[in-house]
């Protein structure tokens, strides 16, 4: 039986202990098209895709390829059926090279010997990068790459399977506009080759640029599928969250107070070079830049994760030595890190244990015994404030959806009651609704007199939320703009170093 559809997933249900993650969900995808899968954090998008790629076995439902029902036998089975996936969470093998990561399990060998033909593997990788228009060294170790570069490796790897269906679960959450453009070119090529791309993202502008059709999910249920031209961002958001969102960037002007943080000639090896800036109470300082610009390294150095090679930091006018995150926290600094899995969360612990960790002492009596009820109350309040979708505060963080994990990190650091808040890609993987909530919270914090540094690779976010923007390139500050002078072109020019 021939079918219009390359892929049909019909009546898919999947439950985890305490959650019905998917409830009778349908998804139909045409060959040669980009199909966007959209929904709030925890709507079940990733879970649906993990059912498709064989990681989860559905409790009910059928999967059909070109009209034929198929049984998907594990991850390998899905790959064999021509389904590959870029995961929401990065999956690097840190000690291995880029080429090894890409071709793991498919290494070219000499004849039938089992001896790896490394030269050919590297050549294959190089050719792959060429066709994708990427510049990357096949024999670099993954551990030496930035998150964004790792993300590009994952993309290249998923493409290299030459699959019929390629699932991309928030591929752009960790990369900057330049890489996004590359990815879109790649997607166009895939479309032209009559492949299907299932694209998950929370970034509206992207969706409307590349999606042909969109399927919306909410709370584990299928809502609707529409061709893109029948939709507007407003109607899409309404479908997603079931209400209107008035303002994406609710920036308010807050009168600026005294300088709380001043950084003077800070360097960290060659990654951060001679960076100086000041931060005032009530200010939101945006830091823009391309991938590898050294923004993350800058804030990690301020926070005591990296050792500065030169420079001074003053807080409230007094010079301070920050040798560890402990010191930073003592000076009331908070850092919501870029990589939540690596530095942000204890995935094996509950939401409660994560949220209360930084300032646990506040919920203890003098002997170090935890005042349990107080802790739970506080955590519950954070869960409500950040609208974290959990079955209970005891849910293990590993089982939360990606966006909700991100909210846990933010909730944890805000609870620590810092004066200086550093947010590195804070809205990574967060849905539109929640994003505007977080922006509102940022504004509220600024109004309270807190000082905020926000790194974001989403230019509209930086432009929309900042009082002032620093632009970095190659570890140096290449531009500084006050709100009145904001322009996308100027920031981009500084970011590429073409000044």
């Amino acid at each position: 039986m021939a079918s219009d559809w390359l892929l049909e997933m019909v009546g898919i249900s999947k439950s985890f202990p305490g959650v019905r993650a998917l409830d009778d969900v349908c998804l139909r995808v045409r060959a040669g098209s980009v199909h966007a899968l959209i929904g709030e954090n925890g709507a079940g998008k990733s879970t649906l895709m993990k059912v498709l790629n064989g990681m989860y076995r559905p409790d009910a439902g059928e999967i059909r390829l070109r009209g034929e029902p198929v049984q998907i036998n594990g991850l390998k089975g899905a790959l064999d059926l021509g389904i590959s996936m870029i995961y929401q969470e990065l999956n690097p093998i840190p000690a291995m090279t880029v080429a090894e990561n890409i071709f793991i399990g498919r290494e070219p060998v000499y004849g039938r010997s089992g001896v790896v033909n490394r030269r050919r593997m590297n050549a294959d990788a190089r050719r792959l990068f060429q066709t994708l228009g990427l510049e990357m060294n096949p024999s670099a170790r993954l551990s030496s790459l930035s998150v964004a570069e790792m993300q590009m490796v994952e993309i290249a790897k998923a493409i290299s399977f030459d699959s019929e269906i390629i699932v991309m679960d928030e591929p752009t959450s960790a990369i900057t506009d330049r890489e996004v453009e590359k990815l879109f070119e790649i997607i166009h090529t895939l479309k032209a080759a009559n492949k299907a791309v299932i694209y998950i993202s929370h970034k509206m502008n992207e969706l409307f640029r590349i999606a042909d059709e969109m399927t919306v999910m909410r709370d584990g249920r299928y809502i609707d599928t529409q061709p893109t031209d029948k939709l507007t961002p407003q109607s899409l958001i309404a479908m997603m969250v079931g209400r209107r969102i008035d303002e994406m960037f609710p920036k308010e002007d807050v009168p600026l107070g005294e300088v709380v943080l001043s950084v003077d000639g800070l360097s960290q090896d060659s990654r951060v070079r001679n960076v100086s800036f000041e931060l005032r109470r009530g200010e939101i300082l945006g830091i823009a830049g391309l991938m590898g610009a050294g923004r993350t390294e800058l804030v990690e150095t301020i926070f005591g994760i990296r050792k500065p090679s030169a420079g001074r930091i003053r807080i409230g006018g007094r010079p301070v030595a920050i040798a560890s995150p402990r010191d930073a926290i003592r000076h009331r600094i908070a850092l919501v890190s870029e990589d939540r899995k690596l530095m942000g969360l204890n995935l094996r612990a509950s939401v409660k244990d994560n949220v209360s960790l930084v300032n646990l002492a506040r919920y203890c009596n003098l002997g170090g015994v935890i005042r349990a009820r107080q802790e739970v109350d506080v955590v519950r309040r954070q869960i409500d404030r950040f609208k974290i979708k959990v079955s209970s505060y005891r849910q293990i963080v590993d089982t939360l959806s990606g966006g909700n994990q991100q909210k846990v990190v933010i909730a944890k650091w805000i609870l620590a009651d810092p004066e200086i808040i550093i947010l590195d890609e804070p809205t990574r993987g967060i849905d539109v609704g929640a994003k505007s909530e977080i922006h509102k919270i940022m504004v509220a914090l600024a109004r309270e007199g807190k000082a905020i540094i926000m790194i974001s690779s989403e230019l509209p976010e930086v432009l929309g939320m900042s009082d002032r923007i620093l632009v970095m390139h190659g570890g140096e500050v290449t531009g500084e703009y006050a709100r009145a002078d904001f322009s996308q072109e100027a920031v981009m020019a500084s970011a590429t170093g073409s000044h």
């Binding site: 202990p17 926070f303 994760i305 560890s324 995150p325 402990r326 930073a328 926290i329 003592r330 850092l335 890190s337 690596l342 530095m343 942000g344 969360l345 204890n346 995935l347 094996r348 612990a349 509950s350 409660k352 244990d353 960790l357 930084v358 646990l360 002492a361 203890c364 002997g367 170090g368 015994v369 935890i370 349990a372 009820r373 802790e375 739970v376 005891r394 944890k412």
Partner: protein, 324 residues
């Protein structure tokens, strides 16, 4: 505080649930228990149950310390040797008419805590794998106990000292109470205190714990010191129970303790686990040893059967955990 509010309101409730959810291990224990009760008429007697508890107590006490260590993602291979050093040093000040009995007790505990502290210090400061540090310490501490005792067991201990491991209270062997006390202390620290929360945090994601401002080194120092302290306590009880401080004591105890912890559902990867599980793990091992002796299984086959039981218990647990 009612039981319900206890379970509802705090971390202990979470852990209890987490462990209670691993019903596989209870099934394993229950199966073993019922089976032995049916097979051996001597198994299910008051005396024998006390017997089992007494025989579990030393391994159980060490295993409580091992639980803390393993939850941080570490391991401690030196506890068996620490048992010996504590036994020897406590015994050498426990002769009749020398010091009051509190002296050998404090000496044994101090020696244990000190050895554990050295472990913790090297692991925390040197950033080297606990496996290799404690393996090295295992031979160092064993050597020290041989040097200290000149290779010969320390004998002629006072009656008060011998009461610690050999005495009774209300008809129940003292070591059983000591075991229960250590379990309560361990559970309190791990499940009710800030320290315990930090132990989980370090084991779950050390980098995240550091970035969250935890003093990871101090947490490690703490758990290894406690593990040493408990091992020292076990050494006191052991030497008092056999009325000798032997430098060869405690060989292989580290593996028994780790087995109890893992059977009890604590993952060697760190970040998860609970004291209650360790208690069950200890009971499984103790009951197994007792049962095989009662059934008089021939000594070569005992080894085979023990290995099979350990693997099966963990397999069953894993199976019930995954099948939901």
């Amino acid at each position: 505080m009612s039981m319900a509010s206890l379970a509802g309101a705090d971390g202990y409730g979470t852990k209890v649930k987490q462990i209670a959810a691993r019903y596989g291990i209870y099934i394993a224990f229950a199966v073993m228990f019922v089976f032995l009760s049916l097979w051996s008429p001597w198994f299910l007697t008051f005396d024998n149950i006390l017997n089992i508890l007494r025989q579990c107590s030393i391994n159980g006490i060490i295993a409580v310390g091992a639980t803390l260590v393993i939850i941080t993602g570490g391991i401690d291979l030196s506890v068996g040797a620490i048992v010996a050093l504590a036994a020897v040093s406590a015994s050498s000040v426990a002769h009749p008419d020398s010091y009051p009995v509190i002296v050998p007790i404090l000496v044994g505990l101090a020696v244990g805590a000190l050895c554990g502290g050295v472990n913790g210090f090297i692991i925390a400061k040197g950033r080297i794998a606990p496996f290799i540090v404690t393996l090295g310490m295992m031979t160092i501490v064993r050597g020290a106990s041989l040097v200290m005792s000149d290779g010969r067991p320390v004998i002629n201990l006072s009656d008060e000292y011998n009461t610690i491991g050999g005495g009774y209270l209300w008809g129940v062997p003292l070591p059983v109470f000591l075991f229960i006390a250590v379990v309560l202390i361990g559970a309190f620290l791990l499940h009710f205190c800030k320290f315990g929360r930090h132990v989980y945090a370090v084991g779950g994601n050390e980098l995240a714990a550091t970035v969250s401002g935890l003093n990871v080194g101090r947490v490690k120092l703490g758990v290894y010191t406690l593990a040493g302290l408990f091992a020292g306590f076990a050494g006191i009880i052991l030497s008092s129970r056999v009325m000798t401080g032997s430098p060869a004591a405690g060989a292989g105890y580290e593996l028994d303790a780790i087995a109890a912890v893992v059977i009890g559902g604590t993952s060697l990867a760190g970040g998860t686990g609970a004291i209650l599980g360790t208690v069950i793990g200890t009971l499984i091992i103790g009951t197994m040893n007792n049962g095989l002796d009662l059934l008089n299984v021939s000594s070569y086959f005992q080894q085979i059967v023990k290995g099979i039981i350990i693997i099966s218990a963990v397999l069953l647990d894993q199976y019930t955990k995954n099948s939901r």
